[in-house]
Structure formats: structure tokens, C-alpha cells
């Protein structure tokens, strides 16, 4: 399952989605919005996505993960729109027969997502806003 959604992410639904009788392990990564960047208070984050390409790029990452680890089921959900401090912006769940693959595959997916998937976040401060990583 790969989804881009403007709604609050239903984590129990994703965990249920990846459950499998052959799974000895399920690993879940939850990316949440922090209240500080450097030493500035963040009021909220706004996310946007080039949705059809984001889904394709996430699928490519999952395909690469499946080639390296024995993944039974997966779910990758990324939020778009405003995400308040402390809320989940991205959730990745994978189930595997043995736990090492679950840890490694889950980490691989989030690490790669951050490199290539066309999704952008803007930090909103009291006194301005900044597109993260846009400038050196």
C-alpha cells in the first residue's frame, strides 16, 4: 500500500494492513513534526507533493527494498497539507519473516524516500516560512 493523504494517518490500519501469518516481525517508522529547527520554534509544517510521481518513486524504492529483503507486506503513507507539531507526517510499516530484515528494510525505505521522492516541506515560524533544504 502506498498512499498520499491530506488526512491524519491511521497507524493501526497500516499495522493491520501488513499483518501476515508468515511474519515474525513488523517494523513501523513514524516520522513526526518537531517543534524546533536549529534554535527556532516551528509553528507547523506544510507539505506538498507531485502526487503521481511521488507514488511512482515510492514504488521504485519499495521494489528495491523487496529485491534486497524478504518483505511480506508493506505500507507507506505520506501526509500532505498542514501537519501540526507532534503529528505524524509519514508512516512506513513492513512485515517480514525475521526481524533483521524488518529493521533494515524500513530504514532503507525512509532513507531513500527522503532522497528522491517529490514531496516538499515548508517550515512555518512565527516570523516567516522556509522551504526546507531549498538553499545551501
Amino acid at each position: 500500500m502506498i498512499e498520499i493523504t491530506p488526512h491524519k494517518i491511521d497507524i493501526p490500519r497500516l499495522i493491520a494492513h501488513v499483518s501476515d501469518d508468515g511474519a515474525g516481525a513488523t517494523d513501523v517508522f513514524i516520522g513526526t513534526t518537531r517543534n524546533m529547527t536549529s534554535d527556532k520554534m516551528v509553528v507547523r509544517l506544510d507539505f506538498e507533493a507531485y502526487e503521481p510521481m511521488a507514488i511512482k518513486e515510492i514504488q521504485k524504492i519499495v521494489d528495491r527494498a523487496e529485491a534486497q529483503w524478504s518483505i511480506l507486506k508493506y505500507a507507506v503513507v505520506h501526509r500532505v497539507g498542514t501537519v501540526e507539531i507532534g503529528e505524524e507526517a509519514v508512516v512506513i510499516a513492513v512485515s517480514t519473516p525475521h526481524r533483521q530484515a524488518a529493521f533494515e528494510a524500513c530504514k532503507f525505505i525512509i532513507d531513500e524516500l527522503k532522497k528522491t521522492v517529490p514531496i516538499w516541506k515548508k517550515e512555518i515560524f512565527e516570523d516567516g516560512e522556509v522551504w526546507v533544504a531549498a538553499h545551501p
Binding site: 507531485y50 503521481p52 524516500l113 517529490p118 514531496i119 516538499w120 533544504a133
Partner: protein, 80 residues
Amino acid sequence: MELKVVAFGIARDIIGGKETVVDLPEGIAAGEAMIRLKAQFPAFNELTSLQLAVNEAYVEPDYAISRGDELVLIPPVSGG
């Protein structure tokens, strides 16, 4: 050929709207198209990176752009 170029994130702020129309020769290489876009919008040069996606995929600089291709500007991604 007249092509629509869609912009996201800071690229949208720089071009002053969600999309712009550019006139490019048929078959122009993606790398050359990017050079022309940066000449038109110099603020692109200040970004950490800027890529051109064609038809929902990253392309090499030598990809030949044709009529009907969907061009999208991809500034530095920051998902996750």
C-alpha cells in the same frame, strides 16, 4: 513547441505561479532546456538543486523533449 512547465515548492514561488509556458525547439535535450529555464529565472541558480521531471520520472540531461511531454520542476525534495 510551446510546453507547459509545472513548478512545486520554492520553484513555484520563484516563477510566481504554479506553471509557466516556455517555447522550446522540438527534441531539445532536457539539460539544455534547464539551462534556458535558469536563464529565464536566475533565482533557480541559488537553489541547492533543481531537476526536471518529464512524464512523472526523472530524466537524464540528454533526454530529448517532445511535444506533449509533461515537464515539472523538482526543487530539492524534503519529504519524510
